[in-house]
């Protein structure tokens, strides 16, 4: 059994709060809890009102590929305060001797020890990380052409630098981008989106605060390959009625499509940037991006 000696004497880096502020926060929290209890007790559903954006509005998203120079492909993705770094190594030779005809995909998600102030993360992999790694694995494996790389391994490492909700969505999107950046052959890129269903609204792309406030409410996560219109992963947690499921899945599909277009544009830009860096600046003038996808419809 692995024993982590470091976890026993971890350094606590919490900044002491001003006492008055501390009291105020405590009161606020109690009030919030009371409100929640009041609202949940009679109706059985959670209510929450979004202030800074619309319910079906996605947070601002930023991504950049090729930032880990040692990896074959990498992607840094930010959805406002959620920050995720994904690096892909491979296809490289198998260290062990198991699989044969197709490449093996390895997927590992790790929360940085400083990523969240609610939860404490060790150096060891905990069950939450294991579960989420599996979900990411399932989401992206269908999109890859692993039969092209016999006897090899593709390693995907995802590091969550800051957790402000919707980590899975960011991780799946970043992983797909990093794989595309690494040049691993795939059928399509995977875009992902999630939503929380509460009593009178469906909140897309929830923040960490929203996630904790709506704990126990129904949640939907959709990953899809937009150009084939295939859903690679659909996860529901919590109780939802039929209409809620329908609505939130549709919202998530729309959201994924929007993320997909951002991913595409980003990859094209990164390739052109790379070409420019390589020196032959004249060639770029002749290059145009293809909009044929939009024109051709079955």
């Amino acid at each position: 059994m692995k024993i982590d000696y470091r976890s026993g004497n971890s350094i606590k880096t919490q900044i002491p709060l001003d006492y008055k502020e501390y009291l105020k926060r405590k009161e606020d929290k109690q009030q919030q809890q009371q409100q929640q209890q009041q609202s949940t007790q009679p109706t059985g559903a959670i209510t929450y009102k979004r202030k800074d954006r619309l319910d079906e509005q996605f947070r601002q998203i930023f991504m950049k590929t090729g930032i880990v120079t040692q990896a074959s492909g990498s992607c840094y993705l930010e959805i406002e305060k959620t920050k995720v770094l994904c690096s892909v190594y491979g296809p490289r030779a198998t260290p062990k001797t198991e699989l044969f005809e197709t490449a093996k995909l390895n997927c590992e998600l790790k929360y940085a020890t400083f990523s969240s102030n609610k939860e404490k993360f060790d150096y060891l992999e905990n069950t939450k990380e294991k579960d989420q790694s599996l979900i990411i694995y399932q989401s992206i494996i269908g999109s890859l052409r692993l039969d092209k790389y016999p006897k090899t391994v593709v390693d995907v490492y995802i590091l969550v630098l800051n957790d402000d909700g919707d980590v899975l969505v960011s991780a799946i999107t970043a992983a797909s981008m990093a794989l595309a950046d690494a040049g691993v052959e795939m059928y399509d890129m995977v875009a992902s989106c999630s939503a929380v269903c509460i009593k009178d609204a469906t909140l897309i792309n929830p923040t960490a605060q929203e996630e904790t406030l709506t704990e126990g409410a129904g949640k939907i996560l959709v990953s899809k390959m937009p150009s084939h219109n295939n859903i690679t992963q659909l996860i529901q947690t919590g109780e939802l009625n039929y209409n809620n499921v329908l609505e939130s899945v549709n919202l998530c599909i729309d959201g994924s499509d929007k993320i997909y277009s951002i991913m595409k544009q980003n990859l094209i830009d990164s390739l052109l940037r790379q070409q420019k860096k390589d020196g032959d600046g004249n060639e770029i003038n002749g290059i145009t991006t293809n909009a044929a996808d939009d024109q051709m419809e079955e």
Binding site: A93, L99, G183, D188, Q275, D278, G286, I287, N290, A292
Partner: protein, 227 residues
């Protein structure tokens, strides 16, 4: 075989994985693309290249005439279509395939086989090496029963070999049973780069000692094959 890429088309188009390129009846899909439900899609990020049929025919006329004699009807239909490929300047994963000529370095030998590390596939260097073995029966084509591994390869030798099978789970199986395959670079005990003097002998220029090797016959034929 690499195809000649027609760069005269001034509009090189950047495509992303999963992007639909054309109908499957218009082109023949090559590297970096795949066919799904009658359409050709890109499977990597890169530039879309159309490879013209005529250019190719002049280069590979002989090959096609030899190969496609039997299936003449099929080739007639195919002849009208150009090829389509997607490629990026920095391409990471070259993976050894059956039949490809590889450059390997000998790591260890034992009486039954030589274990090697695959360094290059064709003319492309691998980022990370793959393991392979050359079994005693695959060292040369004639007098297989008289082959001795230590008279064919020594650790450190650079060898040209062909992949004959994906092998067991641990390593590829390689063969040097051709005149143009075998040791291309070897150092003697004294440290000098040895000079081949016959098909199974190399000589050290410093000490003039002769050592046995399965020497590759280096001439132009192999270079053209790789290009």
């Amino acid at each position: 075989m690499e195809k000649t890429i027609d760069n005269n088309d001034s509009q090189d188009i950047v495509v992303t994985p999963g992007q639909r390129l054309s109908k499957a009846v218009d082109y023949i899909s090559l590297d970096g693309t795949y066919v799904h439900k009658g359409y050709i899609y890109s499977s990597v990020l890169g530039f879309q290249h159309i490879v013209k049929r005529n250019l190719q025919e002049t280069k590979e006329n002989k090959d096609e005439n030899n190969n496609n004699n039997s299936s003449s009807e099929e080739s007639n239909i195919k002849d009208e279509r150009d090829f389509i490929t997607v490629s990026k300047e920095k391409d990471p994963g070259v993976v050894p395939e059956i039949g490809s000529i590889v450059t390997v370095q000998v790591l260890r030998t034992n009486p039954r086989l030589a274990s090697v590390a695959i360094l290059c596939v064709g003319t492309k260097a691998l980022k990370e090496t793959f393991n392979g073995i050359i079994r005693i029966q695959d060292v040369r084509a004639t007098e297989i029963d008289k082959v001795e591994i230590y008279k064919s390869f020594r650790p450190g030798d650079i060898v040209l070999a062909q992949i004959i099978s994906l092998g067991d789970s641990r390593s590829y199986y390689l063969s040097t049973a051709k005149n143009e395959l075998g040791v291309v670079f070897a150092q003697s005990v004294a440290g000098g780069t040895m000079i081949p003097i016959s098909w199974n002998m190399m000589q050290c220029p410093i000490t003039k000692t002769k050592e046995f090797r399965k020497v590759a016959k280096m001439d132009n034929s192999i270079e053209t094959e790789q290009e």
